[in-house]
């Protein structure tokens, strides 16, 4: 096959990927829905430490899985010719898929694959949590490699570095600052999804996943608010301990790998734990020992002389490539055929057009709720940002406080909010908006606050000398300066919002379901009450399409315009 021949058909690759993914989605939902009795949440204060342990273990495994994915995918995207053209757009779509919607389907698919139901549910939850952590890290790997200075590439090619040296001294260190920074963000997202998974599993899907999430649901359902508060307290403590003993030291350490000046919101971060570890002689000697062993291993695995790295013979490489193509073709053909077969089966059953026609309207309802949540979030975050700006000393209180608040995965508060709002005020709509807000507002606040933190002194001084004060200052200087931060915050806030839709429009609580009209609720109902699979697939597609279209046609152009117009270069 000549390159030009391949090039002519290069459009086939993305098409094949999309078709395969679509078929995969279809197959995923062709399984029969769960038929279990509702589980009674087990809840006992003595279980709390064990539950935290379970949650942490689940999260750690999910993180390792997503890290592995991020490096494989990121390297492939950055270092192959078709990576930026195919893998990156695919990643962009993947990251805008509301993954929570897939949880029940993934559970159904995983359970038969494992000897015990419990194991299947565990694996499904880990895979799902990993998908909430992986995308931004894969982007981090990709960006770090693509922005690596050309000099360094030439240096390593010039010394004819073997593969292991490329990886250990260049490719991996290069990625560490961005990957570690994104790992911190991923853990936050991970907590959110972890708790959500545990709650979904317990509620509508009827499986038990012992952990903090199920503990919180159990405690609130029994009306043990004290215990639920204790659970949230334990969660906050866990998150903060992780921050002090893992993330801060890791962030400080990652600055060692920064090329050029250290920038960004974590530039001035300090960590006594890191200082202690770095100064510790015992750690240094054990590290040297480890490095020695690793060096020994590497030398024996890649004996000297193979300095150009692995060299495949040409015919072998060609054979592998053709075999891979055939295999990929078979997989695509099989899944497409199966998908078509399944869809044909659905069509024979009759497509529930009446229900399906509600979908566009539901999408509008959901969007209105998102917009209201967004507006309400803006209503308190912008004044707070301005207030912090006016009284810089406040940032010392507001920042840590906001960090603690944001560290509580919003999903952990769901049982509370439902009990308070639904049972006292009888408005699921209000509860739903509050739940949405809890998944959106922190992105706004943190982006605004970090924008305030970079407000240049000279801009402040110019305003002072020309007597620009009050409303004029707010409208002509402060708000325009914050525009890029506001847009970035809004994009991430809506990203969080779409995911929150699935858990916030429809809640099963105390064996009673509460719902409002919206795509999230539509999806949940279709999934949990054994609705027609077409409904589920259609909802997921509609949601994903809405997210992708909004990103492409609204947020990205807006972001570019705003950064061009309001970007401040001193």
């Amino acid at each position: 096959m000549t390159p030009s021949f391949l090039k002519r058909f290069s459009f086939l690759l993305p098409t094949a990927i999309v078709v395969t993914v679509l078929s995969g989605v279809v197959l995923l939902f062709s399984r029969t829905p769960p038929s279990g009795r509702p589980l009674f949440p087990r809840e006992d204060l003595a279980d709390l430490p064990g539950d935290i342990g379970h949650s942490l273990l689940r999260l750690t495994l999910a993180y390792l899985l997503s890290l592995l994915f991020a490096y494989l995918y990121g390297f492939a995207a950055a270092m192959t010719r078709w990576g930026p053209k195919v893998l990156i757009p695919v990643l962009d779509i993947l990251q805008s898929i509301p993954v929570l919607g897939f949880f029940p389907a993934v559970v159904l698919m995983m359970v038969p694959l494992f000897p015990s139901t419990r194991m299947g549910v565990e694996v499904a939850s880990i895979v799902l949590i990993a998908t909430s952590m992986a995308w931004n890290m894969a982007f981090a790997v990709y960006e770090s490699i693509r922005t690596a200075p050309g000099d360094l590439w030439e240096l390593f090619r010039g010394i004819r570095a073997p593969y292991w040296l490329w990886i250990t001294r260049f490719l991996v260190p290069m990625t560490l600052p961005k990957v570690i920074y994104n790992s911190v963000l991923s853990w936050t997202a991970g907590w959110y999804f972890l708790i959500a998974c545990e709650m979904i599993a317990l509620g509508p899907v009827h499986y038990e996943l012992p952990g903090l999430g199920s503990f919180l649901v159990g405690a609130t359902e029994k009306g043990q608010f004290g215990e639920a508060l204790l659970g949230i307290g334990a969660l906050i403590v866990t998150v903060m301990l992780l921050d002090v003993f893992v993330f801060r030291p890791a962030l400080v350490w990652s600055h060692t790998f920064q090329i050029g000046e250290v920038e960004g919101p974590f530039a001035r971060i300090s960590s006594p734990v890191y200082d202690f570890l770095a100064a510790s002689e015992m750690l240094a000697s054990s590290r040297r020992l480890l490095a020695g062993w690793a060096g020994f291993l590497v030398r024996h695995l890649w004996p000297a002389g193979q300095s150009e790295g692995l060299r495949w013979s040409r015919p072998l490489l060609g054979a592998i490539r053709i075999a891979a193509l055939i295999l990929a073709g078979v997989v695509v053909a099989k899944s497409v055929l199966d998908g078509v077969h399944v869809v044909a089966g659905w069509v024979r059953q009759g497509i529930p057009w009446a229900l399906l026609s509600e979908l566009p309207e539901d999408l509008v309802f959901s969007m209105i709720r998102l917009l209201v949540g967004y507006a309400l979030s803006l209503l308190w975050t912008i004044p707070l940002a301005y207030w912090v700006f006016k009284n810089p000393r406040l940032s010392r209180i507001v920042f840590p406080l906001a960090e603690v608040m944001a560290s509580v995965p919003a999903t952990a508060l769901f049982p509370f909010i439902i009990v308070l709002v639904v049972q006292k005020l009888h408005s699921m709509n209000l509860a739903s908006i509050i739940l949405l807000m809890s998944g959106m507002q922190w992105y706004l606040l943190f982006n605004l606050l970090s924008g305030v933190g970079t407000f240049p002194t000279e801009l402040r001084e110019v305003s002072l000398t020309f007597g620009i004060r009050g409303v004029l200052f707010f409208r002509r200087v402060f708000l325009p300066f914050l525009m890029p931060s506001l847009v970035t915050g809004s994009i991430t806030a809506f990203g969080g919002g779409w995911n929150a839709l699935i858990v916030s429009e429809y809640v099963v609580y105390a064996r009673q379901d509460y719902g409002v009209r919206g795509v999230g609720a539509f999806l949940d109902r279709a999934t949990y009450s054994g609705g027609h699979p077409v409904l589920i697939v259609a909802t997921l597609l509609v949601m994903t399409a809405a997210v992708v279209i909004l990103n492409r046609l609204f947020w990205l152009p807006l972001y570019e315009r705003v950064t061009r117009k309001y970007g401040y270069d001193s």
């Binding site: 200075p149 010039g158 010394i159 004819r160 260190p173 000297a304």
Partner: protein, 246 residues
């Protein structure tokens, strides 16, 4: 080594432009050649073609009369922006090229210490690039290149990221290393945009034109070393090259 009718195209927005056109150049063993030219004329690209990092679009690179294929391991590059790895200590940075070749740890240690001493970095072995001044950083870059004991040292504007005073001392040190009998490096090819620097250091100055780049003239520099920039011949040469470039 020889460059024969080298050309290099590069594509931007699907339009191919000829950056380097028909450049031929010969470098003898033991020679110090400086390549000067207006900025953006492809001097650095030429240096990378020399080492085999970039393939020429046309023409041939001959090394010891044999066409060169791939990256030439007998050459080492000193970069304008130092290209040090911030996550490695001075010692590990210098050792990088040796580690790639895989001699024993003991040999690496010995060679690295030798070259660290030679460039005047003793006492800084465990420091990290972040903690060093520009001059010190370029010393690390120099030691790293020398440590693989190349036959030809390639220098890409090695002093242009340094302040004036530092570059004066570092120039002298490079010349001393070049004449040092303990050094295996006999041949140096340096790219620079500073005319004085070229005359001060090189045996021969190759002057390149604007794009598409050609060799305008090759000027041998026979001034006795150490050279004095106040010498009338120095100034005459300098004026001559200046008029060729501008």
């Amino acid at each position: 080594m020889q460059l024969r009718n080298i050309a290099r195209d590069f594509t931007r927005e699907n339009r191919s432009t000829r950056a380097i056109d028909d450049v031929s150049l010969e470098v003898e063993e033991g020679e110090f050649v400086a390549i000067v030219g207006p900025s953006g004329c492809g001097k650095s690209t030429l240096l990378r073609i020399l080492q085999g990092l970039i393939p020429p679009s046309a023409g041939q690179v001959l090394y010891r009369k044999v066409p060169q294929a791939g990256v030439n391991g007998d050459m080492a590059m000193v970069f304008q922006g130092f290209a040090l790895l911030p996550w490695l200590s001075v010692r590990d940075n210098v050792a990088l090229g040796l580690v790639a070749r895989g001699p024993s740890a003991l040999d690496i240690d010995r060679t690295v210490s030798f070259y660290i001493d030679k460039v005047g970095l003793e006492g800084y072995e465990e420091a990290y690039p972040r903690e060093l001044s520009g001059g010190m950083k370029q010393r690390v870059g120099l030691a790293r290149a020398l440590a693989i004991e190349p036959r030809i040292l390639l220098m890409d504007e090695p002093f242009s990221n340094l302040d004036a005073l530092t570059s004066v001392t570092l120039r002298d040190e490079v010349l001393m290393l070049w004449k040092d009998p303990e050094m295996p490096v006999r041949t140096i090819v340096m790219v620079t945009h500073i005319i004085e620097e070229a005359i001060l250091m090189a045996d021969r100055v190759v002057v390149l034109s604007r794009r598409p780049t050609r060799v305008v003239r090759e000027i041998p520099v026979d001034l006795p070393r150490p050279r004095n920039r106040k010498h009338p011949d120095f100034e005459r040469l300098s004026d001559e090259i200046f008029s060729l470039i501008s």
